[in-house]
């Protein structure tokens, strides 16, 4: 990490609050993710992890507080604007184009990266650079042989890989993954971890994850979110040794 990125975190939340009516889901939250860091958010159900992701990615606007991406304020921007500012996210519930081919699913994002979002006057088949780039992402997520199949026909873990692939296509350098290994077998999880490790090299990763083994093997730091507040942010080892965290969260699992 260069000195410059230390000064300016990739993602910074300061005093972020989100309430739905009288219910405060996130309470005055502060969080800094350094550029190039792999960071996990853990916490019990209902702690506000999904809301946190939805705020950062633009589904909701924060009620108060500041969110900045590479030093640029993004709080309250539309999802497409945040994406163009350099942040991409995946979804906990697979969120793909079911009736398009796997290749087409990825190409939509690649087109956005190369700025041909609304091209109307040239056939897509002639866009060599875009098709090559799509092939590259297809290979990265291990779906080369499935390129022509409909995304809806993929197996669950293949769809999860596609989900990650789509998140990569727009070329964002900050990646948000929402429970990328949820519902996977141990073997599939191990494969997914390797995939995430490989594709996030040189990028900043923020992920929601329940599986502690995934967090330990993948992440530099962990934040524990409980009832809308961050209880602790530390290395995985530090967090698991933290007494308050054990009581609030890990303790439940150990018991």
């Amino acid at each position: 990490m260069s000195a410059d990125t230390r000064v300016r975190p990739a993602l910074k939340l300061s005093g972020v609050t989100k309430s739905f009516g009288p219910i405060e889901v996130l309470k005055h939250l502060d969080l800094e993710i350094a550029s190039g860091e792999r960071h996990a958010v853990i916490g019990p159900n209902g702690a506000g992890k999904s809301t946190l992701f939805n705020l950062i990615s633009g589904i909701f606007a924060p009620s108060s507080g500041e969110i900045s991406l590479n030093g640029r304020s993004i709080g309250g921007m539309a999802p497409e604007q945040i994406n163009r500012a350099g942040l991409a996210r995946s979804f906990q519930i697979t969120n793909i184009f079911h009736r398009l081919s796997v290749f087409e699913n990825l190409r939509i994002g690649v087109l956005a990266r190369f700025g041909v979002r609304y091209g109307l006057f040239r056939p897509i088949s002639g866009m060599r650079r875009i098709n090559e780039e799509t092939e590259k992402v297809l290979a990265q997520v291990g779906l080369e042989s499935r390129g022509h199949d409909l995304a809806g026909d993929l197996t669950y873990s293949e769809q999860r890989a596609l989900e990650i692939g789509m998140t990569l296509t727009t070329g964002a350098d900050v990646i948000l993954l929402d429970e990328p290994t949820a519902g996977m077998s141990r073997e599939e999880t191990a494969e997914a971890v390797e995939l995430i490790r490989a594709v996030t090299v040189g990028k900043t990763l923020l992920m929601v994850e329940h599986d502690m083994s995934v967090v330990f093997s993948l992440c530099d730091r962990v934040s524990v979110l409980v009832y809308g507040s961050i209880l602790a942010t530390d290395t995985p080892q530090g967090v698991s040794a933290n007494h308050a965290v054990q009581e609030a969260y890990l303790g439940q699992e150990a018991a």
Binding site: N83, A88, I96, H98, L100, G109, V116, L120, F121, T170
Partner: protein, 428 residues
């Protein structure tokens, strides 16, 4: 990309469209003009419903403004404006595009049912306003104009109008097809599947939908212009709900999931109204019935069913299918005969003419004429014939369906085998 075979098919179709019409009589030439216009309108409509997943119930609005725009331009040409008559549909394109942009901006702020309702409301708004705006739409009687000659072409005969229409329909149809091959065409499909994800990939979903809507409006406007050129007149009834409904029915009967599907539906319905509307007043009922039956038994439409067969042509045991398919056709004809008999009988017995003759006969249930025979309203054969036709037809269909399903299931086993191989290949 298109296979050699489909190119050959299209070339044959094009040759027929070019060569056959001069040999036909005026009524048929005119019917073909209407088929072409309906086809283009349905293709434009399907850009929205089939590709973008936006079901509009008010497409008459864009078709209608296109027609009026063309007529106003034709009136100006009559008054001496130097504008080539063959390019009159450009007026419909421009006005369709502009009205589509404005209406689309509001309609696409919502999706699903709300989108459909907004489009319906916009069309109804224009329908209600049009008769009051005398200057624009000519009041209740509408406006009219003459086709002016251009470059030695008089545009006096129907065949000239036919070729002009054919040219525009092919041009716009090709344009819509090429559209599907562009990045924006692919984005349109992505919007249909998952609008939210499109936004998270950095696209402005609303603007994209407005553009799709406007393009659909533009081509609908061209179709409306072609109708105006053919009829040389238009009135506010072009904005009526049944114009909007017609294109919905045609598109879904033809198949919204296949690019050329809507053309099949449009051709069938336009020819059906040409052939049947003179024979019976119940033709609208038959049209509705066709729609309901297609939606129930072939939800992807005729085009979808054809595509399904083409996709599986190599795995299907065609000789085993031939007999059941023939039997299905026969059963279908029996059912159709039964329905037509019953419908026409009801139409006669509850019609005004029959009521009058009964009154003259002192209220007695007197016999009536139908299909060149005399039927007694109290005679058993009057009711037994349609019942037997329907019963026999349905029995055949039910039985034959099982056999057809069995043949398709045998294909399914082979199909799933290749599927499994592909899947294992994917994991390795």
């Amino acid at each position: 990309m298109m296979s050699f075979r489909s190119v050959l098919l299209l070339a044959t179709l094009l040759a027929l469209l070019l060569a056959v019409p001069p040999l036909l009589d005026l009524a048929w030439q005119n019917a073909l003009v209407n088929v072409l216009i309906a086809s283009l309108f349905a293709l434009a409509f399907n850009l929205l419903v089939g590709q973008a997943g936006l079901l509009s119930f008010g497409h008459a609005a864009y078709f209608g403004v296109g027609a009026f725009a063309a007529l106003h331009l034709m009136i100006a040409i009559e008054d001496g404006l130097a504008f080539p008559t063959p390019l009159v549909p450009l007026a419909g394109a421009v006005v369709g595009l502009v009205v589509g942009l404005v209406a689309g901006f509001f309609a696409t702020k919502r999706s699903g049912v709300y989108f459909a309702l907004v489009t319906l409301a916009i069309a109804e708004l224009i329908h209600a306003l049009a008769p009051r705006l005398e200057g624009l739409f000519g009041g209740e009687s509408g406006i009219g104009s003459m086709r002016m000659p251009f470059a030695g072409i008089v545009f006096g005969s129907t065949i000239e109008v036919y070729y002009l229409t054919l040219g525009w329909v092919l041009f716009c149809g090709l344009g819509l097809y090429l559209y599907t091959l562009t990045p924006f065409g692919r984005l349109t499909l992505a919007l249909r599947d998952n609008e939210q994800r499109v936004r998270f990939l950095g696209y402005d979903a609303h603007s994209s939908k407005v553009i799709v809507f406007a393009i659909s409006g533009m081509v609908s406007g061209v179709a409306g212009s072609l109708l105006a050129i053919s009829n040389e007149t238009a009135n506010y009834s072009l904005f009526a709900t049944d114009v909007s409904a017609q294109v919905v029915l045609q598109t879904f009967v033809g198949g919204s999931t296949v690019f050329f599907g809507p053309v099949i539906g449009a051709a069938i319905f336009a020819l059906f109204s040409f052939l049947v509307s003179d024979l019976t007043r119940s033709w609208v009922f038959y049209q509705g019935l066709i729609f309901v039956l297609v939606m129930l038994y072939a939800p992807t439409g005729i085009g979808g069913a054809i595509q399904h067969h083409i996709r599986h042509r190599r795995q299907l045991d065609w000789p085993a299918l031939a007999a059941p398919y023939a039997a299905m056709l026969f059963g279908g004809l029996l059912v159709a005969a039964g329905i037509v008999f019953a419908t026409e009988m009801v139409a006669v017995m509850f019609g005004e003419d029959y009521a009058r003759t009964r009154e003259a006969a002192g209220g007695a249930l007197i016999p009536f004429e139908l299909f060149g025979a005399t039927w007694s309203p109290t005679g058993p054969s009057t009711y037994l014939i349609p019942l037997v036709l329907l019963g026999a037809g349905i029995a055949i269909l039910v039985k034959v369906r099982r056999r057809i399903d069995a043949v398709w299931a045998a294909r399914g086993e082979q199909g799933s085998k290749t599927q499994t191989l592909a899947t294992t290949g994917g994991i390795q």
